[in-house]
Each structure stands twice: as structure tokens, then as C-alpha cells.
């Protein structure tokens, strides 16, 4: 929705600052920055860092919703700050805080180790028992086979879904939305043969089963990955596998 340019000339930011050498806990500090109709929250942060306080720390890179590094809480909602327009928050103030549910390293920078570990744990790459010989050509896929996982492959690892997930908030072990969507992305790829290797973790109590289908992950996802849908899909598959293991205890679940 485009609004008429506002006649605001400045807008107030309330930024969570945490400088471990001087702050015991994050504190909100207020800054007035110029208001421009076409500016996003990240532009305002860059202005603040360039002209008002060069010590402010935050992550960003692409400025176009692709790198996934600029996620923060904007007025309490996980957002890519490069895609959140100031004009949608008029007249302000705009509260900018580090992504919820992650430890804070400094100011708006969070510690991502937990996500990175879980990310690798689901083996997010194509696993094959063996490569087919070169003369057989490439691994071809039909449009239907592509459609089966394409949406899950759009994830940019921005972790907004983790910041939105009330289960991840109190279950440290929970693999979480993006990682489980990523697992589905490979499990549903017709070229992949690694489902069995991923299942052990995903079908365990720490895998999908903490999810209570709150759905906030899909609501905040800037790429419409629908991680909540991916987890529901995995639950159905796990349930089928569970019943099947009684019918054929020695078969592959």
C-alpha cells in the first residue's frame, strides 16, 4: 500500500543497546533521525551509525531482502529491517531490538551458534548412495518434482521464524522452523537419498514433536517458505513411518 508522502521531518528510534563492557543488560536509547518517505528502518540505522553514534552494532549486507542478515525486532515483530519502511510506522517512535529468542552479543547483534549447529545437524545437502555415471547425463526433474520442494528452498536463513516461535523460546532442543523446512526441502528432492539419515533426528522428541502448530513462523517469514506447513508434513510422514514400523518391523521406516 503506498501512502502519500508524510510531512514528518524526523522520526524517533528507540534502540536496544547492549555494550557488555558498560551495560549490565540491554537498555533502550532514543535517537531522532531524519524521516524520508522511501527509507527503511535499516536506512535509519545506517544514518544513525554514520552521523550520530558510530558505536552502534548490527548486521546487514544486501539491502534487498536476500542475504537474510538484517533481521531484528521492529516494534516487537521480527522483520527484515531492509524491507520495513519507516512510513509504515508513522508517527513513531520505532522500537528496534535484537531478534528475540537468541542471546545478544552486542546491541542488535545476536549469537547464532545454536541455529548454525542445528542447521548442519539435518544434513542440508543432497545425499546419494552413489553418483550415476557421467554419460547418463544430469539428474532431471519434472516440474511436479520441483514443485514438491521448491517453496522450502526459498529460505534465506534470516531466522525471523525462530524469533517468532514460542516453542523455540522455551525448548532449547527444538530444531525449529527453518531447519525443519530445510530438511523437508532435501527429503522431498527426487535426487536425494538421504531421508533415512535425517529421520533419526527429525523423528525424535527433539525434532518435530515440540511443535504445537502455532504458525507464527509462517506468518513472519519474508519468503513465504511456510515452515509450519513443512513441519506438519513431516509429522504426517513420521506418523505413517511409525505405524508402518509395526507392520514391517525390519523394513525401512
Amino acid at each position: 500500500m503506498t501512502q502519500a508522502p508524510s510531512d514528518a521531518t524526523t522520526i524517533r528510534l528507540e534502540i536496544a543497546r547492549y555494550r557488555p563492557e558498560q551495560d549490565e543488560r540491554p537498555v533502550l536509547e532514543r535517537y531522532d533521525v531524519p524521516y524520508r518517505h522511501e527509507w527503511v528502518v535499516l536506512d535509519a540505522l545506517n544514518y544513525l551509525k554514520d552521523h550520530i553514534d558510530g558505536t552502534l552494532s548490527y548486521r546487514w549486507s544486501c539491502r534487498m531482502g536476500i542475504c537474510g542478515s538484517c533481521g531484528m525486532m521492529v516494534n516487537g515483530v521480527p522483520k527484515l529491517t531492509c524491507s520495513a519502511f519507516l512510513r509504515d510506522y508513522l508517527p513513531g517512535p520505532i522500537r528496534v531490538e535484537p531478534m528475540a529468542n537468541f542471546p545478544v552479543e552486542r546491541d542488535l547483534v545476536t549469537v547464532l551458534d545454536d541455529f548454525m549447529e542445528k542447521f548442519q545437524a539435518v544434513k542440508p545437502w543432497i545425499i546419494r548412495d552413489g553418483e550415476q555415471p557421467l554419460e547418463e547425463g544430469e539428474y532431471r526433474q519434472t516440474p511436479a518434482q520441483l514443485a514438491d520442494f521448491k517453496q522450502f528452498s526459498m529460505c534465506i536463513n534470516c531466522m525471523l521464524c525462530y524469533a517468532a516461535c514460542p516453542v523455540y523460546q522455551h525448548e532449547d532442543e527444538f530444531l525449529g522452523p527453518a531447519v525443519l523446512a530445510l530438511a523437508q526441502r532435501y527429503n522431498h528432492d527426487s535426487r536425494d537419498q538421504g531421508k533415512g539419515e535425517r529421520q533419526e533426528l527429525i523423528w525424535s522428541d527433539e525434532g518435530i514433536w515440540d511443535c504445537t502448530f502455532v504458525g507464527e513462523c509462517s506468518a513472519v517469514c519474508p519468503k513465504h517458505v511456510d515452515p509450519a506447513g513443512a513441519i506438519q508434513q513431516a509429522k504426517v510422514e513420521s506418523t505413517v513411518g511409525w505405524y508402518r514400523s509395526f507392520l514391517a518391523p525390519f523394513g525401512r521406516g
Partner: protein, 110 residues
């Protein structure tokens, strides 16, 4: 890492969700409105529900609804912060559901 047994509970929960959503409004409509308004004859309803298939269906709806409610209550309580009691909560919730199902059986098959 042990495979979770949650699929058992989750599948019953899902089945309960489906029958609750589909059949309970219909049952309320029939027993709460259509029969009292004499749009449906009580005798016909009674005949359907005393047929063995009708009894079984009634038992199915009631018991799955109890399990659905128990599972939901269990997760809501844990999510609301009673994590330390998750074991006892699960046992209590499912025991209550089994009790409810047993009661439904005595009513349906009496």
C-alpha cells in the same frame, strides 16, 4: 536418538480434531435444535443411535474428542510454563481421556 512415540498421540489427536470439527456441530444441530423443534423425530434418531453401527460411531466421536481435548490441554499447560510437570500432566490428561472414553463406552453400548 530414540524415535518419538508422539505419532501415536498425534494421530489420535488429529483424528479427534477431524471428527470434532465435522460431526459435533452436526450432532448439536440435530440433538439441540432439530429434535426439540420436532423437525427430526426423536424416534428416528433413537433408532439410528441404537443400531450397532450408530453406537460405534457415537463411541468413536466421544472417545476421540476426549483424546483430542486431553492432548491439547497437555500441550497448552506445558506451553504456558508448567514444563517441569510435563510427565505427570501427560499421564493425567490421557488417563482422564481414557476414563472419558470408558464412560462413553458404557453409555453407547448400554
Amino acid at each position: 536418538m530414540r524415535r518419538s512415540n508422539e505419532p501415536l498421540f498425534w494421530s489420535l489427536f488429529s483424528a479427534g480434531g477431524v471428527v470434532t470439527a465435522l460431526l459435533v456441530p452436526a450432532l448439536i444441530l440435530v440433538t439441540g435444535f432439530l429434535v426439540p423443534a420436532e423437525r427430526v423425530e426423536f424416534g428416528r434418531l433413537e433408532a439410528i443411535l441404537s443400531h450397532p453401527v450408530g453406537r460405534l460411531a457415537l463411541f468413536g466421536v466421544a472417545s476421540l474428542t476426549f483424546i483430542h481435548a486431553a492432548h491439547r490441554l497437555r500441550h497448552v499447560l506445558v506451553d504456558m510454563g508448567l514444563r517441569r510437570f510435563r510427565g505427570p500432566i501427560a499421564v493425567a490428561a490421557y488417563l482422564a481421556a481414557i476414563g472419558g472414553a470408558a464412560w462413553a463406552a458404557t453409555v453407547a453400548f448400554a
